[in-house]
Each structure stands twice: as C-alpha cells, then as structure tokens.
Symmetry: C2
Subunit: 381 residues, 2 copies
C-alpha cells in the first residue's frame, strides 16, 4: 500500500506529527529575542536530560560532526588516545581521532560484546592517555556499554572520557556529571524523534582546560566559539531554525512522558523483540545483559539470504529494517525500537518478519514470535 511505511532502521527514525507541525512554523531570525528565548528553554531541558550542570551545545551538523567537535577540541597531533571499540561506530570515532593526528590504541571487543572493563583498567594503569573514546550504544551490533563503569575507571586518570551517545540519548539513561563523562555527543535523528541535522554536545569543566589549549584547527567545530555565543544567548553560526522548533516539541513529548518512563518503554520494547526473536527460533547478536534498548541485531539463519528478506519486508509490507555493517553484512537484521516507537511497532516488525521468513521456507511457526512479544507486554510468563 503506497505511503504505508514502517521505518525501523536505527536512524533516521519516524518523526511524530506534532514535531512535524512545529517544524512547519514560519522562519524567525536567529538573532532575534524570540530565538534567544527558545535557545534558553532548550538549553535548560537538554541539561536535565543529559544530567549535567554544564551547557549543552546545539550544533547544526549531524552526529559525526558532534563527535568531530569532541575530537577537534581535545586531541592534538601525536596525542595518545584509547578507543574502546565494540563495532562500526566505535571504529569511526577512532578514525576521527586518527584524522586529527592521534596515535590510537584500540581495545576492541568481538562484535556483539560490550567493552571489557577489566581490560580498560589494565590499559589505563599501563600508560597515560589524553582521551578515552567510548560508545554508549553501538548501533551496528545492538550492544549497550556501561558508561558509568568506564567513567569510574577514567576518572582516576588525567584522560578525558569522550562518549558517542548518538543512538542512545533520549532513549537510554545518561548521567553526564555523575558518571564522569567529559564530552558527550548525540544527534537529533535517533531517540530524539527529529529529522537529522542537529548534534547536542556537553563539555565538562575538566575538558575545558584542554579545549582552550588545544592545537588542532577548528572553526565551525570550535567549542570556545560556541561557548562565547551561548553566553550571549545565541549560536556561533546560523542554526537550523526549523529543527530547533522541532526539538522543543520533541522535548515536550519526552518530558510529558517523563524521561524515566521513556527509558523503561525502550527497555520493554527491546525485551519484547528479543523474546519474539527467540520464539521464532532465531538468536540475537547481543546477550540480554548488554543488549541495547534502542536497537536489536537479529542473526539471520544460514539458510536465508538476509538482504532478500529485507527487500521482501520493504516491498510487501513497507517495513524497513537495517542490514549488517562490516563483517556482519548480509548476516543480521537490525530492528530499531528507538524514539517514536511503541508496542504496536514491535508487532508490525515481528509480524512482517515472521511472514517474510515463512514465505522463504524457513520453519517459523506463524504467530509464535508475536505471542512472545504480547506476553512481554502483558507480563505473562
């Protein structure tokens, strides 16, 4: 059916109608009092969501630009950086540091597993790093990392902890100040329920000392420039005005539901998907103890061409899942339950997957995955 689309990829995610409506308001000048007041309101709520007393910069670029902002302001050529890599986006964060001349030591986990805290402790004890890079939620594998645990280890060193929270923030709890996160970067198009185009970046006091001395070139990504403008209730460069309107509507929704409830909803959706996947005789890539609440990586059976199934899901039912990246290409499906996602979305995704597998001759018992999801929602054993 034309126009029936169920976007279940881990970003961009579906945008709620009231956010779309907010974004269709007329332009205002970004040097106006009206815009300054909007910026102040957004700042206050982003700080609450991040769990920080420090400002959260709203940058007109997508998530990678937010992470580059973190690196460009804290890494100088020759600096030694420890990258905790659990998948494709961990690799990307390390590559940004390399682009700025860092010598990167990678502590890599097998894909599907989280950061090994004991290994991080050993590495930090052995040498001094300028920065530690971590991924809160590894979108390529559906793995959530223990940022609080990593933060405790890094706090005992001079290193700064830079965290990629692109696919977590808004859907998973974060406590920036309490957990010792020095720079957190996230983006608009995931659990924030907005189109792509904005990044949100917090900076700790510990980080500022480094930021001010840093020798890497930076202009659009300059945190000192952003800070100076924010003190004037302004942005350093032209902001994506419509997305700022949308951000206020999205934050309204998040705070109306309550952040704690939002996080519980994501945890429940993830549990339901994993339970359904197992009831269908399939496995998830990540174990329950570290499975992401916002995206589930589902292992395709060997007998089935994973990307053919994705085509069928899209063509027959308008259901769009993501495939695997890197070494997981053609081997997994990634089903997001991120942002504007509810229980009926899980039934849609699982129902379509059941039917697509059945059509290809995989021995799935129709309705069994769906029943497993329903049981999680109803809290039935």
């Amino acid at each position: 059916m034309q126009d029936k689309s169920y976007l279940m990829i881990p970003g961009p995610t579906p945008v709620p109608p009231r956010v779309m409506a907010a974004m269709s308001r007329p332009m205002t000048g970004h040097r106006s009092e009206e815009f300054a007041a909007l910026l102040e309101r957004l700042e206050e709520r982003l700080g609450t969501l991040f769990g920080t007393e420090n400002p959260v910069f709203i940058l007109t670029n997508s998530g990678t630009g937010g992470l580059e902002t973190a690196i460009a302001n804290t890494v100088s050529p020759g600096d030694r950086v420890l990258a905790l890599v659990t998948g494709n986006f961990g690799e990307r964060f390390a590559n940004i540091a390399r682009a700025y001349g860092a010598t990167v030591v990678e502590a890599a986990s097998p894909w599907g597993e989280p950061v090994d805290l004991a290994e991080v402790g050993r590495l930090l004890a052995r040498e001094d790093f300028k920065c530690v890079l971590a991924t809160h939620n590894e979108t390529s594998t559906g793995v959530a990392n223990d940022i609080a645990g990593i933060g405790r280890l890094v706090a005992g060193s001079d290193a700064l902890l830079l965290v990629d929270g692109v696919s977590s923030i808004g859907g998973m709890e974060i406590r920036v100040d309490e957990w010792g996160v020095d720079i957190l970067g996230t983006a608009s198009q995931k659990a924030f329920m907005l189109p792509p185009g904005l990044a949100f970046v917090s900076v700790s006091e510990k980080a500022w000392a480094r930021v001010e001395q840093n020798r890497s070139p930076r202009f659009y990504f300059s945190l000192p420039a952003h800070r100076k403008s924010l003190l004037n209730r302004n942005t350093a460069y032209t902001p994506a005005v419509s997305l700022f309107y949308g951000l206020e509507a999205a934050l309204d929704m998040i705070f109306t539901e309550g952040p704690a409830n939002v996080y519980q909803r994501h945890i429940l959706l993830g549990r339901a998907v994993r339970s359904a996947v197992r009831a269908m005789g399939l496995a998830t890539l990540a174990g329950d103890a570290w499975a992401s609440p916002t995206v589930t990586a589902i292992c395709a059976p060997d007998s089935v061409a994973a990307d053919d199934i994705r085509q069928d899901l899209r063509n027959l039912w308008g259901v769009v899942l993501a495939g695997g990246q890197g070494g997981l290409k053609g081997k997994i499906w990634r089903m997001a339950h991120m942002g504007f996602a509810g229980q009926m979305d899980v039934l849609t995704g699982i129902g379509a997957l059941e039917m697509a597998l059945y059509r290809k001759g995989y021995p799935v018992s129709l309705g069994r995955g769906l029943a497993a999801a329903e049981k999680v929602f109803l809290e039935v054993e």
Copy 2:
C-alpha cells in the same frame, strides 16, 4: 505513547501523508481557471470510479448532506418510498425521506443480515414507489448489500434507486450505470482517505426528469443549481478548496494502485480480520457471504464489557475501534479496514484486541488471532 494513534473506526479514517501535504497548498480562488481545471480533472476520475457517464457532483457537505441532496431533489410530500433497512444508516436514510414528507414503507432485515431480494421483489410487485432507498455498505453492522441485484428489481419499475454508498465507494466496486443506480451518494472521510467535508453524488438520466419537477424546497442541495454550475466548470456555492486538493491526491493514489486492486485489498483485509476473530473464539455479526470488505462487526463475548475493552485499547495502545449503535450498543466492536489500510493495520488491531481480552481474563490464546490473519495474507490453509 503520545501521538501513536491507530484510528480503526469506520470514518473518519486515517489520511495519507501525501493527501495531507496536498491539502496544505495555498488557497486559490474557486472562480479561477486553475480551480476550473482541477474540477474537470476530478470529475473525469470520479466518473470512472463510479462507473457512470453522468456527472458526479462534488458537494461541500458531509455524507448525510449528500443523501439529503438525493431525497430533496426526488421526493415530494406524500410520495411513497420503499426503504431497505439493514441497520442504523438505513434508518437514517428513511428518516431523511420522512423529513421531506414521504410515506415510508420499511423492508427491514435483522441487524447483521443483508437486504432480502425476494422480499423487495414482492413489495415492488405489490405497489408503485417513487423511490427505493438502499445502503451499499451498512456501517453499523458490517453488512454489504447486493446493489446490482436490487438495481435489477428496481429497473423494472418507475421507482428511482437511491443508494447510500458513504462507507463503500473507494473501497468496494460500484457500477452506477450498469447496476441501475439513479442517485449514488458517498463522502470523503471513508475509503476516499480524506478528512470529512465533501460528498460525491451522481444522478442518472431517469432521475433528472423527477429532479426537475420535484416540489420540495432546496437551495444549497439543489441539483439543478449544481448542474448549471458544473456546465460552467464551477461549483454552485463556495467549495472546500483544500479538500478538493486532497481529493486529487487521494484519487492519484487510488488510480496508481488501480481500483480493482484497491477492492481486492479491502476484501483481503476483511477476510483476515474475520479469520482472526474466529481464531480468537469470537464471532462476526455478518456471515461471510455478505460481510463488508471495509468494516467488520465483532461480537463481544457476554463475559466481557465491550466498551471497557475499547477504553483499554485506546488507553494502552492508542487503538481506536468503534462500538455498537442502537440495539448493538455495548455488544459489538467495529473494526474498520477502510481506505488507507494495510496488512500491518490488521495485525495492530487484532494484536491489541487479543491483549485487551487476555487482560480481562477472557480465555484467548495469545498469538492465535494474529497467526490466522498472517495465514490469510500468506494464503496458507
């Protein structure tokens, strides 16, 4: 989850994004050449959809106004009218005729059953009627009536056949000229996938003779006024311009899918819902032979308060079903699969109903209704 709403009532129905986008275009004057050209394009495609060579008037009023247009132009005080009543909307059509002074003879079927053609034949043989009123799709009971069969009977008399096609047209096949329908009235907010506010009315040559002589008062509903304006590529009174824009987008969608495919889709969705309902141990009000392809009336079990379940569906999952009307109040649920509806909507409606019934202690086996729907979609026995 805020903003997650699954509107499954038999009108208004969900409006596709591209129809909403079309309706947000700037106003044009309705006496402009641009509007005249739009009107011509709409006329041509409505004629194809109705299966008529005669004009189809696009009236700025909702469905009841379309049916009143039919009556006000063909019924004079004291006329004898035969009303074929199969539910609440059949009653309403009869009441409009009464409001215009008709003496109405009702041929009523038990709710859940269709028009009895043999009875209609007997009544038409016994006396002359000015008009016969029929409902194509009785929204209150989920029953589809055999308009072709009724048309054959009425064609042998001097009576005009006036048909309420409000909840059918766009989702069920109609052949106005071939089936002998003298006036067909339908509305925008059902299978046409538009918001409410427009009615579409066709008038046969046989009807025009009566229309011109009719003695009932009429101005806004005057078919001669509408015909005169249409000859000038215009509307008699100010049209709902945005809805005309939306109508073109909706007709684009219907003709891109192909009307025959649209009708098959509705039939398939209806079959899946009925199969799921039975797999859950429930009954449908209408038998398969005359069940509506656009809305299914589901009999609530005696042990369950039907309207409490509707509240739960709405509060817990955002799924909105209609309740019963008249004598069926509190006894049925009506689930629409009308217009902008696809297979995933059936999984949503059935999944939510399964869970709601389970929560109330009704012995439903979770996943069984969903599996039955999946089997219909996959054509598995």
